[in-house]
């Protein structure tokens, strides 16, 4: 029995902003199925009352004085941009995006 349907795979791909062709999507679905079969072993581990470890060292957000420093120059910040105008990144229209699907 498969754990992930093709429709489910396509839903995940949309969430991940990944365009997949048919062959890629089917290959990914089968391999994800195999991996999810494998990780199902964790269901056998009793984790009642066990806290989750997100990070191995105690993490607190460090604070520092808000002092001006040397930052990335705007021309360097856009130097790798596929499309830029002056010191700005350019993208296709955003506001009509929802309407266009």
């Amino acid at each position: 029995m498969s754990r992930i349907s093709r429709a489910e795979l396509e839903r995940i791909a949309r969430l991940a902003r990944l365009r997949l062709d048919d062959a890629e999507a089917e290959d990914a679905r089968q391999r994800l199925d195999a991996i999810l079969d494998y990780v199902a072993q964790l269901d056998l581990v009793d984790t009642t009352g066990v806290p989750a470890t997100a990070h191995v060292i105690p993490l607190a957000t460090p604070t520092r004085e808000d002092v001006p420093g040397v930052l990335l120059a705007p021309e360097l910040a856009v130097a790798n941009a596929p499309a830029a105008r002056g010191s700005a990144f350019t993208v296709p229209r955003v506001l009509d995006d929802e309407a266009q699907g």
Partner: protein, 489 residues
């Protein structure tokens, strides 16, 4: 196998530089001569910086002549894995999506290496975004193992391990998220060290799984790794997960002594059904040598280690799916040609074209396990198992100072052998991922050849006890010559 004299250790080369019997210029020229001779077959390097490196070598020689060497390693050539950025240099992570990218800044480790006078000669191949254990998931093609060109060097730091093993550079940096320094070090017959999580700044390391990633050195000896780790370690205000503790002096801890230390032989990693006989025999031989040197032995068990791979792949892919969201075709890297559909379509096409198959699979798995309805069943469950594994380690370390086990269950596999079954390749990380989940320091040391292929002994320590694992590795190397073996050539 030959006892090549030209591939000396970093410490030996540093002594020659200090004595004035060797110049940095000659050393860097030697690196490029070996690279020119060997890399067409090995493909360990993605980028080189020959002119800059030679000029920096001259500057190093000038400093030495003035008596102003910046460190013991001033003038030593080193290679960087291509996911550690250097200002003005490319950083492709072996991905099409970063083709043409040039970093505007230095990673903290690069600043520290250059501050100590080391000469960066080039950037080494890896699995795309460090996702893999064979260096075959590289958009530029695989790296080959110097011991057998038909075999994988391991991965993902396979280029760094192959470059050191082949004597192109005496040292390299890699990154280790689930074994990506230790496993290729083992398969290529060099020493590879994953420091305690937080010991080395991740600033400028392209993120894969932020709670697991750690930069570390590869070289021929534990003593070399200690020198390199001293150079790059320490708190960095640019990485809020870097440890506030001052980096310890590691070299001074290398006493050559292991008497008084107790080594835990991991029962789960000593199962004849899970470890190749040739690997098991050599690891037992190395442990026996440490026992003769005065270490006490005892059996230890980590009951949850059998679930480590499952927990690791859920946590690592979840973090990766979030980290790789930044590749959107807007700020840097590949961008799909304009087409209808607005910005969402641009993202989808850019990422569909730019990422390789394994990276896409991991992003999909990570997105799935973080998505509504699955979070508790997969991601949270994996984090709870991570806690249980940490507790296993705490219990084991109550009775021993370090845990010894094979780095890998088998020696280098053939290129292509595991490509068709990613799960089989994931399972080969069984002995390495636990140290990342628990944040522990771990080192892999050459402990012999099986049918002409290197075997690695892995030593894991308590958090922050980087010095202890290096001390044990160094003590072993003082009593063995396996790290002197060189690939046939």
């Amino acid at each position: 196998m030959s006892q090549a004299s030209e591939a000396e250790t970093a410490s030996e080369l540093a002594a020659q530089l200090a004595a004035g019997s060797l110049r940095a210029r000659a050393l860097v020229e030697r690196s490029f001569a070996r690279l020119d001779a060997l890399d067409p077959q090995l493909h360990a390097f993605l980028f080189t910086r020959r002119a800059a490196a030679l000029s920096e070598a001259d500057e190093s020689d000038a400093r030495r002549a003035r008596g102003q060497a910046r460190s013991a390693l001033d003038g030593l050539p080193i290679a960087l894995k291509d996911n550690i950025v250097q200002a003005g240099e490319p950083a492709s992570c072996a991905s099409r999506i970063l083709a043409g990218y040039v970093s505007p800044f230095d990673a903290t480790v690069v600043e520290r290496l250059r501050g100590a006078g080391l000469v960066i000669v080039g950037r080494t191949n890896l699995d795309e975004f460090a996702m893999g254990s064979s260096t075959e998931n590289s958009c530029a093609g695989p790296t080959r193992n110097p011991w057998d060109l038909e075999r994988s060097p391991g991965g993902s730091s396979g280029g760094s391990a192959a470059a050191v093993a082949a004597g192109i550079v005496p040292a390299a940096l890699g990154s280790d998220t689930g074994g990506s320094i230790r496993q290729p070090a083992a398969l290529c017959g060099v020493v590879g060290m994953k420091p305690t999580y937080g010991r080395v700044s991740r600033y400028g390391l392209v993120a894969f799984a932020s709670s697991l990633d750690q930069i570390g050195p590869l070289a021929h000896t534990a003593a070399d790794c200690a020198l390199l780790l001293e150079t790059i370690a320490g708190h960095d205000p640019k990485d809020s997960t870097s440890l506030p503790e001052p980096a310890p002096s590691l070299s001074q801890a290398l006493s050559g002594e292991v008497s008084g230390l107790t080594l835990g032989l991991l029962r789960e990693a000593d199962d004849p059904s899970g470890v190749a006989p040739g690997v098991r025999v050599r690891v037992h031989g190395a442990v026996a040598e440490l026992e003769r040197a005065g270490a006490k032995l005892r059996d230890v068990s980590l009951p949850h280690v059998r679930h480590a791979i499952a927990a690791y792949y859920l946590i690592a892919t979840a973090e990766a799916s979030s980290n790789l969201a930044r590749y959107d075709g807007v700020r840097y890297g590949h961008r799909a040609a304009d087409a209808p559909g607005g910005i969402t379509a641009l993202y989808e096409r850019t990422r569909g074209e730019g990422f390789g198959a394994e990276v896409k699979r991991r992003i999909l798995l990570g997105t799935y396990v973080l998505s509504a309805g699955y979070y508790d069943a997969y991601y949270k469950k994996a984090q709870q198992v991570r806690t249980l594994l940490r507790r296993d380690f705490e219990a084991a370390f109550a009775g021993c100072d370090a845990i010894v086990l094979p780095t890998t269950p088998e020696t280098a596999f053939r290129l292509g052998e595991k490509l068709s079954d990613p799960l089989a390749l994931y399972l080969s990380d069984v002995f390495t991922v636990s140290a990342n989940l628990a944040g522990l320091p771990g080192v892999s040391v050459p402990c012999g050849l099986d049918a002409g292929l290197p075997v690695g002994l892995q030593i894991l320590g308590r958090p922050l006890e980087d010095a202890t694992v290096l001390r044990i590795a160094d003590a072993y190397q003082r009593r063995s010559a396996h790290h002197r073996a060189r690939p046939p050539r």
